[in-house]
């Protein structure tokens, strides 16, 4: 049975929940420094429950995207960044921030959907198939199958099944984002990271993505960063509130939004500051 990590002051863990099942991922005392020495994350301790949605909320610049990007080691792409602490993935208890762990391997298990839809300048089919090709899958029958599964999983199949070989750029914003989700799903990730996935989309598209997230959680564990509190309240099971690089409060979503334990959380949620 795993114990929750050591607590930071003022952080609540809802440890009752975690006593029952092994969390999918745990951040343990995570600090992060951008090149040049600026500290963007301070001693974060957080659990991601398996097959659930965890939301990260907080004002601009609080570090939620920075935290998200630690999970798939995106910071490694830019020299000078430095991690301290651990992010442990279960099963197996592997610390993905370890120096001996290859970021590419991490990214093969943990996928990401970005804020602005970023399909490749290729056909719809090739966009979804890319992850498979990178993993060396060659049999076109197998690729066809997985592409269709992924597009169905992203609720896009019916809209694009007749134009799989047209350029992805011709899709609308909401469709492009669902394509990016399909692309991320095609490789059967264990954790799916969403970085403000609907901030560039209109309300109808936003709705369909939120719906999709609700369905996806039965297959993957989801960590979503959102600047929109109401979205967090709608889609997530657990919510973490961050401020200036620190984790202020973490718990079940309904508790955070109706009965937060920390005053600063309450101030943010009630709009006393943005």
């Amino acid at each position: 049975m795993l114990h929750p990590a050591s607590t930071a002051p003022n952080a609540s863990h809802g440890s009752e929940i975690f006593a029952q099942a092994e969390p999918k991922a745990e951040a343990r005392n995570l600090n992060f420094f951008y090149s040049g020495g600026v500290q963007a994350l301070k001693s974060i301790n957080l659990h991601l429950a398996a097959n659930s949605v965890t939301a990260l909320i907080g004002p601009s610049g609080c570090g939620k995207s920075t935290f998200l990007r630690c999970f798939n080691r995106m910071h490694d792409l830019y020299p000078g960044n430095r991690y301290e602490g651990q992010i442990v993935i279960n099963p197996g208890g592997i610390n993905i921030l370890g120096a001996d762990i290859d970021p590419i391997e991490v990214r093969m298990r943990i996928s990401m959907v970005f804020q602005k839809p970023n399909p490749f300048p290729k056909s719809i089919y090739e966009n979804v198939a890319y992850g498979l090709r990178v993993r060396g899958v060659r049999q076109s029958g197998l690729i066809d199958e997985k592409v269709e599964d992924a597009l169905r999983g992203a609720a896009l199949w019916d809209e694009v099944k007749d134009r799989l070989h047209q350029l992805a750029f011709n899709l609308s914003g909401g469709q492009q984002q669902r394509l990016c989700i399909a692309r991320a799903l095609a490789t059967d990730p264990e954790i799916l990271l969403f970085d403000e996935p609907t901030s560039a989309l209109d309300p109808i598209a936003t709705d369909s993505i939120e719906d999709l997230i609700g369905h996806l959680k039965s297959k993957v564990t989801i960590l979503i960063v959102t600047h929109n509190m109401h979205q967090a309240a709608r889609v997530s099971n657990h919510t973490a509130f961050m401020h200036m690089g620190e984790l202020i409060e973490f718990g079940p979503t309904d508790v955070i939004f109706t009965n937060p334990k920390v005053k600063r959380t309450e101030d943010y949620i009630t709009g006393r500051y943005g």
Binding site: P91, G92, D102, I104, E105, M108, V134, R135, G136, E190
Partner: protein, 309 residues
């Protein structure tokens, strides 16, 4: 366990294989670049070795001659200097003026588009074509003859697009708010340009002029066409004389030669002694063009760093 062990091993092995290709590619590309640079270095060194013993003070003060031991580049470097002076005097005012007009005064209409298309096209025209233009227009129709003046004007035509494009880019990098601040104080376009825009874009314009000049110094083809002679054993008359009016323009109309043509002449002869002279001339020529290009690159770098809007 959500993934069986052998599957993780297979994934790891595949990642290792992919990264191996990554490294192979990086090494190959690095080798390709090094190859280019090293080849050039080897060639330059070879030329230096062949020619350096000819680079004596006499080399710079002797005329070319039928005897290799007595040959030098006096007429060539003086010729280059004279031609470049005419080139700069002709190209810079027109080029900078055109650049200023296009960036500050011109309205976006079909005429301006046409001018822009022309400039881009002219930048891509082979240099020898400018020689043909000059041969027909300057040498024959306008009767300027095969002279320093013709040469200077020809090279000016050739580097005009470069000067114009660099001037435009330099002006374009000044933020709109500076333009507006000047006009808000009541300045006319001319005053704003003279007092603000030109001084701030000096660096970029200068870079363009230096790059153009470096190109002009090393360019041979157009001058061959207009009749730069390859064997000149005299200098044009000096621009300063000791009789009234103390200034003479006769040098503009004299026949001439320039450094690259002298080198071309020596390289075309069969005797190895002249090949050594060609190497020596090449070394001198390269020092000049390399120094100018390095100066331009450094200027561009410094200029970009200094002014931070």
């Amino acid at each position: 366990m959500s993934r069986p062990d052998p599957q993780i091993q297979a994934v790891r092995a595949m990642i290792v294989a992919h990264k191996r290709w990554d490294h192979i590619f990086a090494l190959t590309a690095l080798a390709a670049m090094l190859f280019c640079v090293l080849v050039l270095l080897a060639l330059i060194l070879s030329m230096v070795v062949d020619g350096y013993h000819r680079i004596t003070p006499d080399f710079f003060t002797s005329f070319p001659s039928r005897m290799a031991e007595r040959s030098g580049i006096l007429s060539a470097w003086v010729g280059s200097l004279l031609v470049i002076s005419v080139t700069i005097l002709a190209a810079v005012p027109v080029g900078v003026a055109a650049g200023i007009y296009l960036e500050i005064y011109a309205k976006r209409n079909w005429l301006m588009d046409l001018i822009e298309i022309n400039i881009t096209n002219l930048a891509g025209v082979p240099p020898i074509i400018y020689g043909l233009l000059a041969l027909s227009l300057f040498v024959h129709t306008w009767g300027l003859g095969e002279s320093v003046l013709t040469a200077g004007l020809t090279m000016a035509l050739m580097i005009l697009p470069v000067v114009i494009m660099n001037t435009r880019e330099a002006i374009r990098s000044i933020p709109q708010s500076i333009h507006e601040a000047a006009y808000a104080l009541g300045a006319t376009k001319g005053q704003a340009t003279r007092d603000h825009l030109l001084p701030y874009s000096k660096g970029g314009i200068l870079t363009g002029v230096i790059i153009g000049t470096a190109t002009a110094v090393g360019e041979t083809a157009p001058l061959i066409v207009i009749g730069a002679l390859t064997f000149i054993a005299f200098l044009p008359p000096a621009p300063i004389t000791d009789v009234f009016p103390f200034v003479s323009f006769a040098w503009l109309f004299d026949p001439f030669t320039v450094m690259p043509i002298q080198m071309f002449n020596w390289v075309s002869r069969p005797q190895p002694a002249f090949h050594e002279l060609a190497a020596a001339a090449g070394v001198v020529l390269m020092c000049i063009t390399l120094a100018m290009n390095a100066l331009a690159i450094w200027l561009r770098y410094r200029y970009r760093k200094r002014i931070r809007w």
